[in-house]
């Protein structure tokens, strides 16, 4: 079993739910990456998703787009991020999986084989590519699997039962259940049918199911953890770091640890 799945399962077995914060690498300068990762590790994150800035982030809303622009203005690249991770990987606990979230083109430009090699050297154990649907993922998946790295696939509200099943079968690490039709960014609330969707996904998935997109308050964290193995929180974390509000981050993480048993 891949480290990503292992860490999530062990968290759930202890009666908590997984909490995976997303940060934009290089927002605030690449020097801040280490500080953020170590802060999140100490604050109780289950895994950490590290976003690579891209010129054309079509799956992202304002908050992450702007964080990406700040990072690009700092000259941050995929290569620089992987080098930075490598420089402090000894400080990251072995049971703390690091995930890379990158659009496909920077990976292609890096070269697939070299990229996978660098992921290993940087201690990365999972990869999320928002513009790589199941249909196009075959070769990358094989290469990652050979190297013990998870390829986390996304399931959306528009994926029908058949696709959900096919994606669940192929996803390694966990399934990323997109909770809204739309791009990343804070939301007021969620569609009523979401609970049913998450339950049905959970019932067929051989790997853990984590919900993400729009989750921005402790109440959201609790609400969406009920039917899943945990949550991914992006824009709210990016915002909190940008405002220096780390207490907010701790609150969000706390919400994944409380009331879970009561809810079941």
């Amino acid at each position: 079993m891949n480290q990503v799945e292992k860490s999530i399962r062990s968290c759930v077995e202890q009666g908590r739910k997984a909490f995976v914060p997303y940060i934009m690498a290089g927002d605030g300068g690449l020097g801040s990456l280490r500080d953020k990762v170590l802060f999140l590790q100490d604050a109780g994150a289950t895994a950490i998703e590290i976003g690579i800035p891209f010129s054309d982030p079509v799956a992202d809303g304002e908050t992450i787009q702007q964080a990406g622009e700040r990072a690009l203005a700092e000259g941050v690249t995929l290569r620089a991020v992987l080098q930075s991770l490598q420089s402090f990987k000894k400080e990251v606990k072995p049971e703390m999986p690091l995930l890379i979230m990158s659009y496909l083109n920077p990976i292609l430009a890096y070269g697939m084989d070299a990229f996978v090699q660098s992921l290993r050297e940087s201690g990365v154990s999972g990869l999320i590519i928002p513009d790589l649907p199941l249909e196009e993922s075959g070769h990358i998946k094989e290469l990652l699997t050979e190297n013990g790295i998870a390829l986390i696939q996304l399931v959306s509200l528009t994926s029908d039962q058949k696709r959900m099943a096919a994606i669940a079968e192929q996803s390694t690490g966990f399934i990323y259940a997109v909770t809204v039709n739309g791009i990343t960014g804070a939301r007021e609330g969620f569609n009523e049918s979401l609970a049913t969707h998450l339950q049905s996904l959970k019932s067929i998935s051989p790997v853990p199911v984590l919900a993400g997109f729009g989750i921005s308050t402790p109440a959201h964290v609790e609400q969406l953890s009920i039917h899943t193995d945990g949550v991914i929180v992006g824009s709210a974390i990016v915002d909190a770091f940008d405002n220096g509000d780390t207490a907010r981050i701790s609150q969000l993480i706390e919400a994944s640890k409380t009331k879970m048993r009561a809810a079941h």
């Binding site: 010129s55 292609l108 649907p133 196009e136 070769h139 990358i140």
Partner: protein, 401 residues
């Protein structure tokens, strides 16, 4: 691309180019679109309806016009113009917009989103939406809003909502990004009318098929007029829709040389251009594997061209393939060249071409000169120049001399 081929069946490939690189949320819409299009293209009532609107609303077929004075002036091959500028709304874009609007209605979708660069696709889509009573929202880069002010007003008169995109370079690429984001959020009741032979499968095929009418008519017309096929066919390349529509019916005729003309902006050497085949590398943008202007880290670069409609950093997947297999030749013309082409056609034939089409005109002038008088070349005059008059006037410093 070898690295991309896997066990799951990949769709919509032109050699290694194309594919479906989109967020999962859009996959079901693409699958639905593909099924609806397969069904529609087999259905004679759909084709008849499309033909009806192309004839009685758009004004097809468009003439294949022998440019006699231009031919004389150049002193080489006979030059024919395929007059897509005479279509309703002034460019080839309407062929695709009408087709896709009919397709959207067939899928029960009455809301439309589109991007536009020059504003021609936006105007064409706003027109189709007005014609059929569909809701229409158009994303347009802020730089293009400035360059194509009159087209913005035209879209608004037609009842469309035009949203300026401030991000990035404020041109076509950024407008596509925003249109895609909007589509992801409204995918359940909205169809995205993509304006060029780009994007994820099945768009490149659908757009090509709706633009094929250009080449199909040209083929018949040249056979009538010359009793034979042309020696060369020329078209400008933004994303590549007028060109692929023109080329496709000739691809199997090996003797017909195909020339695609990219925008060289200030010159390929300056880095300020929009010539993705001449200056780009393979990669993925907006759902497809193509040649793209990008830096070594895989970040997409901004395209530069005096013509808003060519100002896009990639070229549609089918052209990438035609280039790879050597079936078509891709060349480029600078901003300056395009301005010269525009004046040449205006003065010799009384036709002010769109700046996009002027790239093709300028190249044809060079090409025809090196050919014999008994040879024949056809150029796709993809649109008329009214929309560009202000830009041209600024570029020429206020006057014509």
């Amino acid at each position: 691309m070898e690295q991309m081929s896997g066990s799951v069946k990949q769709k919509g490939r032109y050699g290694k180019f194309g594919g479906q690189y989109v967020p999962e949320t859009l996959m079901s819409a693409l699958i639905e679109l593909e099924a609806a299009y397969d069904d529609a293209s087999q259905d004679p009532t759909f084709t008849e309806e499309l033909d009806y609107y192309l004839r009685d609303f758009v004004g097809r077929e468009t003439p294949l016009y022998f440019a006699e004075r231009l031919t004389k002036k150049i002193g080489g091959a006979k030059i024919y113009l395929k007059r897509e500028d005479l279509n309703h709304t002034g460019a080839h874009k309407i062929n695709n917009s009408i087709g896709q609007a009919l397709l959207a209605m067939r899928m029960g979708k009455r809301k439309i989103v589109a991007e536009t660069g020059a504003g021609q696709h936006g105007v064409a889509t706003a027109t189709a939406c007005a014609l059929f009573g569909l809701d229409c929202i158009i994303f347009m880069g802020k730089e293009d809003v400035r360059r194509q002010e009159l087209n913005v007003f035209r879209m608004e008169l037609l009842g469309a909502k035009v949203v300026p995109v401030e991000k990035g370079s404020g041109t076509l690429k950024d407008a596509v990004n925003e249109a895609l984001r909007y589509w992801v959020a409204h995918v359940e009741d909205t169809h995205y009318i993509l304006g060029s032979a780009l994007g994820p499968h099945p768009f490149p095929r659908i757009v090509r098929d709706f633009q094929r009418v250009i080449g199909v008519e040209t083929r018949r017309q040249i056979l009538e007029k010359e009793g034979r096929l042309p020696d060369a066919v020329v078209a400008c390349i933004g994303g590549g829709s007028n060109a692929i529509g023109m080329f496709h019916p000739f691809v199997k005729d090996e003797k017909v040389a195909l020339y695609g003309v990219e925008a060289a902006g200030s010159g390929i050497g300056t880095g300020l251009h929009a010539a993705a085949i001449a200056g780009g590398k393979e990669g993925v943008l907006h759902g497809a594997y193509m040649y793209i202007l990008q830096d070594e880290d895989g970040f997409i670069q901004e395209a530069h061209s005096i013509s808003a409609g060519l100002d896009y950093p990639a070229v549609g997947p089918e052209h990438c393939h035609l280039y790879d297999i050597g079936r078509a030749v891709y060349t480029s013309v600078t901003d300056e060249g395009a301005l010269a082409g525009l004046r040449l056609l205006s003065e010799t034939e009384g036709i002010i071409p769109a700046l996009e089409s002027a790239h093709a005109i300028q190249y044809v002038a060079e090409l025809a000169k090196g050919m014999r008088p008994d040879e024949v070349v056809v150029v796709c005059l993809s649109g008329r120049g009214d929309k560009d008059v202000q830009t041209v006037r600024d570029a020429l410093g206020g006057g014509t001399r």
